[in-house]
């Protein structure tokens, strides 16, 4: 006996396995079970009726399963009125609607249609419609409530000049439904391909084919979702978007035996491909933690600098930024580093003869911490000891004048 069940396949596809009920004649093949009929054997009488019963059961199950709609997704705008029909059921059919497994009461129904007025985001979910008596699932849909996209924010920047630039984008407000982005870059008459980055997702990069172009780049970003679309355009010159990444590995160290110095060093950002031909200049800012005002130093070359006017014993916060020597804008500030200038060991009293810098008339105007009582060079001490310091300084100056 050969068994077979016909399965309905999508149009255009050839069935790979066809099992067709047959009664011993014609082609067929072995089903699991190992039934094999001898060609020409006569069937016993109860077997054909058993076949029919099983066949009928199979057909019913199949019909039931196939009567369900494929589950699909429905997108609606926030505030809209949504009408859901229960598949192919008539308007006056008795149906029950459920939202995420919870019954919906009849006040929302108009016949067999479900009416949702002024939908909001909380009404997103799975809606199912069951035939009243048989409780057969007639229709199912996922409702996703969202908004059409607002104008996206697009930013293009070259942190690896002269290799190329990247553009990144995001939506100012969420739409709550999936969005797709399409970006196009036009340079003069040529359309360039912006390769999408794997991470982060909303970013793509372009390689420059030519340098020093007189023609601007025009980047258009279009965002589309099921409820609408929006776009934005950015037009810029090659040199206008150059902005390096901040300098890396900023290190600040005290200088031994120099209570007013801090040695700061850093490295070119690793994303900048050619610092030899496209040198960077740097901007250093520093302040003691207890003050708000920064001091600034601009450095046209080199990746280190010594601060020489630090207040002794005060913890400093230091940051560095970078910029192409000639074009573009400053990078963001680097990670801040903290450092305190070298201070003497408290048990060693500094003798006056060792003071080489007598100019302790610093421009500070803040109150020093009470622990600093020793009048060593450069230290700002309490008001009571200032007179002593000045006297000592004057005495030393007098000695110096006499002996030199």
């Amino acid at each position: 006996m050969r068994w077979s069940v016909r399965r309905q396949l999508p149009a255009g596809k050839q069935p790979s396995a066809l099992l067709v009920p047959s009664l011993g004649k014609g082609e067929g093949f072995l089903e699991a079970g190992g039934l094999r009929s001898r060609p020409g054997a006569k069937m016993a009488n109860p077997v054909p009726s058993a076949c029919c019963v099983v066949l009928a059961a199979v057909v019913v199950v199949y019909a039931q399963r196939h009567s369900q709609q494929e589950s699909h997704i429905q997108y609606e705008r926030v505030g809209a009125d949504v009408t859901m029909k229960c598949g192919s059921m008539d308007w006056d059919a008795a149906v029950t609607w459920m939202a995420n497994g919870t019954d919906i009461d009849a006040s929302h129904l108009n016949g067999s249609y479900l009416i949702l007025k002024n939908v909001n985001l909380t009404q997103s979910g799975q809606y199912s419609c069951y035939e009243g008596s048989s409780w057969h699932l007639k229709y199912q849909t996922h409702l996703r409530v969202g908004t059409p996209p607002k104008e996206p924010l697009l930013m293009c920047r070259s942190n690896n000049y002269p290799k190329g630039f990247y553009c990144s984008w995001h939506l100012p407000t969420p739409t709550y439904i999936p969005n797709s982005f399409n970006i196009s870059v036009i340079h003069g008459t040529r359309e360039m391909v912006c390769e999408k980055d794997v991470f982060p997702k909303n970013r793509c990069h372009i390689r420059y084919l030519q340098l020093f172009s007189t023609v601007k780049y025009k980047v258009t970003l279009t965002v589309t979702n099921a409820l609408g679309k929006n776009s934005t355009t950015a037009t810029f010159d090659e040199f206008a978007i150059v902005k390096p990444d901040p300098p890396e590995s900023v290190v600040a160290k005290p200088v031994p035996n120099n209570p007013r110095r801090l040695e700061v060093s850093w490295q070119n950002p690793s994303s900048w491909p050619d610092p030899e031909s496209f040198p960077l200049k740097f901007f250093l800012r520093y302040r003691p933690l207890i003050l708000d005002q920064w001091q600034h130093v601009e450095l046209s070359d080199g990746t280190s600098h010594t601060i020489t006017d630090a207040y002794a014993g005060k913890e400093y916060i230091i940051q560095v930024a970078a910029k192409d020597n000639d074009i573009g804008t400053w990078s963001d500030w680097s990670v801040a580093v903290h450092a305190t200038p070298w201070t003497e060991e408290p048990k060693h009293l500094t003798t006056e003869a060792q003071v080489t810098e007598t100019t302790s008339a610093s421009t500070s105007s803040f109150m020093p911490p009470p622990t600093t009582k020793i009048c060593d060079k450069g230290a700002v001490v309490g008001s009571g000891a200032v007179a002593v310091c000045w006297t000592a300084g004057l005495v030393l100056a007098a000695y110096g004048v006499l002996f030199i």
Binding site: F212, S213, S277
Partner: protein, 226 residues
């Protein structure tokens, strides 16, 4: 002899202006005739500084001139397509690898040719330009630009390269703009090319600075042309 060595200060601009005025009457651009030792590295640095100065000057000049041309030329978003026509000025745009691979001579020569041409066309703007103030600004800029050309010539001389031949005259077959708008378009592109060249030159001279050691001192006496 004219002393063109020394620190770049306010006095140097006066010297350059005098130089420009004296040499404006000559048919061909002359080579520098220096008896002073001129470090090539120093010259390069000065030329670099000059390009930065000119770029700064151009910003104001371009703003004023584009306002004189009127809309849409003075709109910041103005991004017209480049009309297909004979290039008046050699374009600064270049393939990255090609630019990297340029020899010092080729690099300097490209700059020299470009600025010579640009100077010539800029001078042509001076006549018909609108207000007296604009004419004055253009004139001042032209003088500085002349100084740049001479500075580049100086660098080439001190490195032993020959100056590119060929006067800064319009190439044959250049179409004359047919109407007022097209003429303004040409002016717009001229300023754009000038801006791009100045920005490219900064990079060119940065590269030259690295390749020519600053301690090189060369004594070059060349009399050419007259």
């Amino acid at each position: 002899m004219l002393n063109v060595a020394g620190d770049l200060s306010g006095d140097s601009w006066g010297i350059f202006t005098f130089l420009c005025a004296a040499l404006c009457n000559l048919p061909a651009l002359p080579a520098l005739n220096c008896t002073e030792e001129l470090g090539a590295g120093q010259s390069i640095q000065k030329t670099y500084d000059l390009t930065r100065y000119l770029e700064h000057q151009l910003r104001t000049l371009a703003g004023t001139y584009l306002n004189y041309l009127g809309p849409p030329f003075n709109e910041p978003d103005f991004n017209p397509p480049r009309l297909a026509r004979a290039e008046r000025v050699p374009s600064a745009t270049v393939d990255l690898d090609l630019w990297r691979g340029l020899t010092d001579n080729a690099r300097l020569a490209a700059n020299y040719r470009a600025y010579s041409r640009l100077l010539c066309y800029l001078r042509a703007l001076e006549g018909p330009a609108g207000t007296a103030e604009l004419r004055h600004r253009l004139g001042h800029f032209c003088s500085s630009l002349q100084g740049l050309v001479l500075s580049i010539a100086g660098v080439m001389s001190s490195l032993g390269y020959p100056l590119p031949v060929g006067g800064p005259s319009a190439p044959p077959g250049t179409p004359v703009p047919s109407n007022d708008f097209l003429k303004k378009m040409e002016d717009f592109w001229l300023l754009k090319e000038l801006q791009t060249w100045l920005w490219r030159s900064a990079k060119d001279f940065n590269r030259l600075k690295k390749k020519v050691p600053p301690a090189v001192v060369t004594l070059r006496l060349e009399a050419r042309g007259f």
